[in-house]
Amino acid sequence: MHLGESMRECEYSQISTRSSTPMETPYKKRTPKRRKWEAFPGRNKFYCDGRIMMAKQTGVFYLTLVLILVTCGLFFVFDCPFLALQLTPIIPVVGGALFLFVLGTLLRTSFSDPGVLPRATPDEAADLERQIDVANGSTGYRPPPRTKEVVINGQTVKLKYCFTCKIFRPPRASHCSLCDNCVERFDHHCPWVGNCVGRRNYRFFYMFILSLSFLTIFIFAFVITHIILLSHQSGFLNALKYSPASVLEVVVCFFSVWSIVGLSGFHTYLIGSNQTTNEDIKGSWSSKRGKDNYNPYSYGNMFTNCCAALCGPLPPSLIDRRGFVESDAPQLAQPTNGMTMYGATQSQQSHMAATTPLPSS
């Protein structure tokens, strides 16, 4: 069609005068297809071609990893031989299993998608804007904060509009300012695991802190046992000199055990009452807010809540990191242009809206 051809000619000349940005490169002839993670709008870091997803700041995560690896390494090298011989070889076996489980759950928590909600497509955002304008009426004053009220199991819940993602956040979702994403069932952003904790990785996070509590207590107990047994043989100070690594392990375990066991206890309470850290801190469902305030998501008893949180179905990732960016999705007109474009693509739209009119070739 004539219109299509002239538009295509303009396309190529436009690209040659502008520096290429990620949005425009897909439209060149024979461009290698980009994966969606490369065009992801949030502040996340991706590794292994989109298979691994983490927050931007990962320094503390490496610290966590180093602490666990070094402490366990020292335990297996310096304490286990003695304990295996003197007591039972089951000790290093159990220790090894716990260590692998801790590492597995940590990596799973850190590397998986916490439940990020993809941002609204331009058509969706435009449709929502139109609905909000209709609801508010065009007054010319600054529009009031955008909220929608929903009744869930008899409790009124306010859904907030996210200005960054251009969506009404589902209940229990929250926008993480560090990662710049809306996350479903947002619990908190944990710098120790270098990722947000949300719907998809909460069970891994809980298993991680629970198993880490056991591992810390396990190492602490057996290192103390080792030192005591050595002291019986050759006196306390000699025992410390003979096994200095044990001292380091005891110190690390002693300081970690309070925080980790405390955190495990706190999260056990949260799981039992089916709340997120976010809701607990804000006191969303506390009875202090009102007599009729209750948690509409709770199943009533602690056991069902636990099972639902830990053994419930695991939803797949919504952001499709390894899919390819589609450059030919049909789109509706942008309201700013004021004209209907047939079969216009997203990159074309941004061209038309952003560039100044070029001289006709």
Partner: protein
Amino acid sequence: MATEFHNLQELRHSASLANKVFIQRDYSEGTTCKFQTKFPSELESRMERTLFEDTVKTLNNFYAEAEKIGGQSYLEGCLACATAYLIFLCMETRYEKVLKKIAKYIQEQNEKIYAPRGLLITDPVERGMRVIEISIYEDRGSSGSSSGSSSVSGSTAR
């Protein structure tokens, strides 16, 4: 003359996108995935209310099945935990299996019901499970020509 599209490719190439309708989520029962069954006004001239409601209700049932917390999901969860979640490397979760069923169902609905009426449903999973997007197409040849010519003159005047 009523436009008839015999397959989806034909629809996409020979028709132009006129409008999109978004069916929003229904949160009245909590965070489980459920879509509103309210019939949008833009579709009133295009299709029957009952067909639309059937589609949405079937989709809602599929999602309820995927998110059901019961014997099978507990078994899956416990087995996964026992194998340190490595089992997901070789096994597909129940949710993923149901999503595949949904994709097939939507494809089937598009071919049988929606495409012949100049409509197209987009799988909600491609929109972050927020909306069911229904694209409304106009026939490029006949009824859209008047608006077509005005946009041609509009764009060449750039």
